[in-house]
């Protein structure tokens, strides 16, 4: 059991790409920590740097107060599950799970015992003699997890743990993963490009872009108060409305409608951020014409077209769906409006 401390960590590839750019992160003991970002943002490189598979160019990695920056991957007491699971195809499930013990030259009976016990914990009994090729995707993932937790590591690293599963299985695996992490209380860092996964699983999320962390916080904070338009755009299954606005006589105006009072000089150009879920359709607010209705199951995403051409997304309950072409208004729920400066940073 141990936390992870990253200080001024940079990883630069030989071709000069700064995949990880002077990061300072402190991951607490037992925390479920997500690294979230679009592809190419350096999240996987950061995970591999923690594992020791990529050498850190500068800065330090400490696990449980031990500086492991120059320590071999195998000596860091970390376990890792790869995106493709990296199960050895020539070994049975039991041999795969027991592999970390085989490396440590544990006696064979002990290897078998640990493999059987871990497999049973993860609902893999009866599959011990199978080859990985004979298992389903979900089973393969659990074998990879079993192998990672077969020996007690300080830290569990997961690279896109759910991306190789089909949609239905992914939800099941997500719940399973969260329960497993709770039960083991193991400090876990996982990489994902799926914001829903990060929101559902993590205790804290680091949103990364171009090797830097753009925002670090609990899923709630990140969802409710994205620190920048980049994060705002990235988080949420329906994208946040980012509307051009301006301050006129002490209030923010969007598409000709005055919304909320602000303490900014008149004429300041801002970007108004509001989630479709935090808008209510009715008589008040920004008027517009319903142009598109997308059915999302229990809710629908309604797109309003304002007089000046601004498009606003509003989520409505299934029974309150407006007709196409109807004239309605969208009003933000109190306290849900976010203002960003022209540089994309949250104001106030």
């Amino acid at each position: 059991m141990a936390g992870i401390e990253l200080t001024g960590l940079s990883t630069v590839y030989p071709n000069g790409v700064r995949a990880v750019d002077s990061l300072d992160v402190s991951i607490k003991d037992g925390e479920f920590f997500a690294l979230l970002g679009p592809s190419g943002c350096g999240k996987t490189t950061l995970l591999r740097t923690i594992a020791g598979l990529e050498p850190a160019t500068s800065g330090t990695v400490s696990i449980g107060a031990r500086d492991v920056t120059r320590v071999e991957p195998g000596q860091r007491r970390v376990a890792m599950v790869f995106q493709d699971y990296a199960l050895f195809p020539h070994m049975s499930v039991a041999e795969n799970i027991a592999y970390p013990l085989r490396v440590r030259r544990a006696p064979r009976p002990r290897q078998r015992e640990v493999a059987a016990r871990t497999a049973a914990d993860l609902g893999l009994d009866g599959l011990l003699e199978r080859r990985p090729g004979q298992l389903s995707g979900g089973q393969q993932q659990r074998v990879a997890l079993a192998r990672a937790i077969a020996v007690s590591a300080d830290v569990l690293l997961l690279d896109e743990p759910l991306s190789n599963l089909d949609a239905r299985l992914r939800l099941e695996a997500r719940t399973f993963l969260k329960r497993l992490q709770r039960e083991l209380g193991l400090t876990t860092v996982f990489v994902t490009h799926d914001q829903a996964e990060a929101l559902a699983l993590a205790d804290r999320i680091a949103v990364m872009e171009a090797g830097r962390i753009r925002q670090l916080g609990s899923p709630r904070e990140i969802f409710q108060r994205p620190g920048s338009t980049f994060v705002a755009n990235f988080i949420g299954s329906t994208p946040m409305n980012l509307l051009p606005g301006a301050v006129r006589s002490g209030a923010v105006e969007v598409a000709g409608t005055s919304l909320t009072e602000v303490d900014l000089p008149d004429g300041t150009e801002v970007v108004v951020g509001i989630r479709p879920e935090y808008l209510t359709l009715g008589e008040e607010g920004i008027p517009g014409t319903v142009s598109i209705v997308e059915n999302l199951g229990i809710t629908s995403l309604v797109t309003l077209e304002c007089a000046d051409g601004t498009l606003i997304g509003v989520t409505v309950q299934e029974h309150a769906e407006p007709r196409i072409g109807a004239q309605v208004s969208a009003a933000p729920q109190p306290g849900r409006l976010l203002l960003y400066g022209q540089d994309g940073v949250l104001l106030g």
């Binding site: 020791g52 598979l53 991957p73 195998g74 990296a86 050895f88 592999y99 970390p100 020996v151």
Partner: protein
């Protein structure tokens, strides 16, 4: 309709000729050794074991097969071992001009042990005192096969995902353990392919042993075969058929054994 029938007849006749072309020497190999008067033609044998006895009593026949085995086992072992390690390194380490290096090696290998290099090789081996040495000859044969073997094997090793190795490394495996536990077993079909390929190549190699093994007692089967004739130049048909049969057994046996044990697929360096 008749056009179709004609086409089928034509096709069948063509296939029969092609099949006969390959099958007749095989049938000869099965019948001639046991024929009392073996000729170069194919006929139902007049059964006898005299030829077998004559071959076994030949002063060099069995010895040459042992020589062949020594040459092949050494050359195959050196080729397989070196090619595996080299292919692994070349597959994993990024060095500038790696692919060019591989192609140049492959190209030169046909020259290195080709006819053009025979004089320098002979002179070099003479100065090293390795003429009439099985090990020296085996090394030259292995050196000639290595580039092609590395080229083919690199393809197989490239196909082993890096995440397998990284996974093993995170669990604490040393580089040696990674190689033994993960890379070699996963690349095993490729290694088996190289094993059989290099054995067959070495077994049939004539020119190098002919040049470098001057003493008839050290010559392998491939070289001895062309000396099996009398002063007039007529082939010794008492010994040749049985010797040919014996000579072909190890290759077939190795192929069957490796195929059964490792289930290798012959890719010729191109992955399916």
């Amino acid at each position: 309709m008749s056009g179709l029938v004609l086409r089928r007849i034509g096709y069948t006749v063509f296939m029969a000729v092609v099949l006969a072309f390959f099958a007749i020497p095989m049938l000869w190999l099965a019948s001639a050794p046991f024929d009392s008067r073996p000729g170069l033609g194919l006929r139902w044998p007049d059964w006898t074991l005299d030829n077998v006895r004559a071959t076994f009593e030949h002063p060099y026949a069995l010895g040459s097969l042992v020589n062949s085995l020594i040459l092949c086992v050494v050359a195959t072992a050196v080729t397989t071992l070196c090619a595996t390690l080299a292919a692994y390194a070349l597959s994993r380490v990024r060095i500038p001009g790696r692919d060019v290096l591989l192609y140049v090696l492959l190209l030169l290998s046909s020259v290195v042990t080709g006819t053009a290099a025979m004089v320098p090789i002979f002179v070099m081996m003479k100065q090293l005192g390795l003429i009439n040495s099985h090990y020296g000859t085996a090394l030259v044969i292995a050196a000639g096969m290595l580039p092609a073997a590395i080229f083919i094997l690199k393809d197989f090793v490239d196909a082993v995902p890096r995440s397998y190795e990284e996974s093993a490394r995170v669990f604490g495996a040393s580089p040696g353990q990674v190689l033994r536990h993960v890379v070699l077993p996963v690349a095993r079909p490729g290694i088996a392919t190289i094993l059989v390929w290099s054995f067959v190549q070495a077994w049939g190699n004539f020119l190098l042993p002919f040049l470098l093994l001057r003493d008839v007692e050290t010559q392998p089967g491939a070289v001895l075969l062309q000396t099996l004739r009398d002063e007039g130049g007529t082939a010794n048909l008492t010994v040749i058929p049985v010797f040919s049969l014996l000579y072909s057994i190890p290759v077939v046996a190795l192929y069957l054994f490796v195929s059964k044990r490792y289930g290798f697929r012959f890719h010729g360096g191109i992955k399916a």
